[in-house]
Symmetry: D2
Subunit: 182 residues, 4 copies
């Protein structure tokens, strides 16, 4: 990709899905920001910060044009992380967003979507903008501030109509009962 | 304020400043996002999450048009939180951003800027946009995700030139050496 | 059990073990304090505080007469928590202490040892003294202070020879390089 | 001190006290375990883990022969940490145990008790046994497990009457409503 042009994010290759009646494609989600948490259910770093972060994202952006997805990209201990085990995990950890099961590869341990995105490991956080372009592909811990800053910027750019200042005010954070957003 | 128009943020009323050779006015900062952390040095909630949050904001937005300020709004234990004590506190907690000392009031314990902003207490987080309009006035804990989302949206709107898509890509998060921002 | 007499802790009923060449019995461990962390690998509370606590106990008491054991007491999602999955979990979470796999019951989902100890769920922490008597059977979170206090008291009582004061000094905490134990 | 004999802990030298009608001496506390948290109110490490730890100790051992004391050992920013400031701090952080104000020295910044105990800095945790002998003098962070282990061992040794096994059972941890101590 040149520095002037963003790459279109590769389509997901899933062998199965949880928490959705139908498979989901990125193409269907054009017009929304898409956040994908790539994880393995037996990965300690995923469980300790990745999962809490993606649950917060799912809750915080519930009423905004942001789709939150899980991507179970198993590259080790394959027999311990089959679909029935992932279902138990999703149940226990109260994961209610759709989760794609990354398609196992014929040629090695790294599953297909993980290969396409060139993920370094799990957890990885992927953010795709409303036009389907890849904006973030981050391995490891990333602070909520950075994630919020990116998603907020994408939502604002998309909603912008320069002749209509009132709209900007709508880009305001969700606040709890202790606080007040002006 | 009507629902269609945002209020201009009140100017700060400071009796003194730390970490700046000259007093700072909000008017001087037009064109930048301004983040103000209102605190008291002996307030446990300020110390445990407000101070770490504002230090992170100061570091994360260091190279962007975002000004981070402290506002020491003392409304109790006034004699224990004088300027020399605040200087010791700022030294021990490694606070390097400018800190305004909220002007004590003649008529009661609540200092002047705190009155103008109608703050419910400390910590409070105030965010002002590039035109000087108040966007957030939040008492208590607020997640970094919400703060990042708001500031990211303000930076994006301001930098937007609809004919120039390349600019949008510049609104990308700071990543550590473990990660890669596309 | 009367209030004057402590019950002998029931023997473990294990179908298999990890991290030990031979099965272990409580009877073999007479003379030592035995700490047992009953858990399920897909139990969020076990993973977030039970596992870190038992790893700390294992490390802290490494050179003292304290045996730390895991007990995998699966009472739900049985097919997702078989031995090969537990092995992957133990590998990823770096668990090096012996782990008993609680014997499945013929008559219901609750495994045998869990029934014998009347465990309310996972995580549970069990402490057994040097004479094999049950001293703690705690469901849920328990602070390290309480656990240390109990184990320290058991170690002290056992090592006590009233004519020899020097011995008492040996019951001193492990300290890092920043500190000094007198 | 020889390796065979423990040193008697030096008496505290306090210019003033908080939260007690009368000054307290270590000599008065013979027969109890004494825990002393040496701190400075503007020391970040004291506030983030020392203070929470000592509050937990005070609460956990409330009904046992353990005295918890604070020692405000100011060796920098003296003018910002006078008695009235410490009172405000103790009020805001809900410290209800007695706090000794370490006597300032005529000859330098290090106060008298800090010199006697040869403290390396703040926070430091000091534990003294029922005979007044120094058992722990630890600078920096120390885990609750280590502190509990030490205090538990001291309480057990003291309460021990080898002919009376029932007594041992009394050295049991405090448990919340979720748990049960046998």
């Amino acid at each position: 990709m040149s520095s002037l042009e963003l790459a279109l994010a590769s389509e997901l290759v899933a062998s199965d899905w949880l928490n959705t009646p139908e498979p989901i494609t990125l193409e269907q989600l054009r017009g929304q920001v898409v956040v994908i948490h790539a994880f393995q259910m037996l990965c300690p770093g995923c469980v300790s910060h990745g999962i809490p972060q993606v649950k917060l994202l799912h809750e915080y952006y519930a009423n905004q044009p942001v789709s939150v997805l899980g991507l179970h990209s198993v590259f080790e201990h394959h027999d311990a992380m089959q679909k029935h085990a992932l279902q138990a995990f999703a149940h226990e950890y109260r994961l209610s967003f759709p989760i794609a099961i990354d398609q196992a590869s014929d040629s090695g341990p790294i599953p297909e979507t993980m290969q396409r995105y060139n993920l370094r490991g799990t957890p990885s956080l992927i953010v795709i903008d409303q036009k389907g372009k890849l904006r973030l592909n981050h391995f490891g811990h990333i602070d909520n501030l950075a994630v919020g800053n990116l998603i907020g910027s994408l939502l604002a750019v998309n909603s912008l109509d320069p002749s209509d200042e009132k709209k900007h005010a709508s880009v305001s954070p969700h606040c709890d009962e202790e606080g007040c957003v002006v």
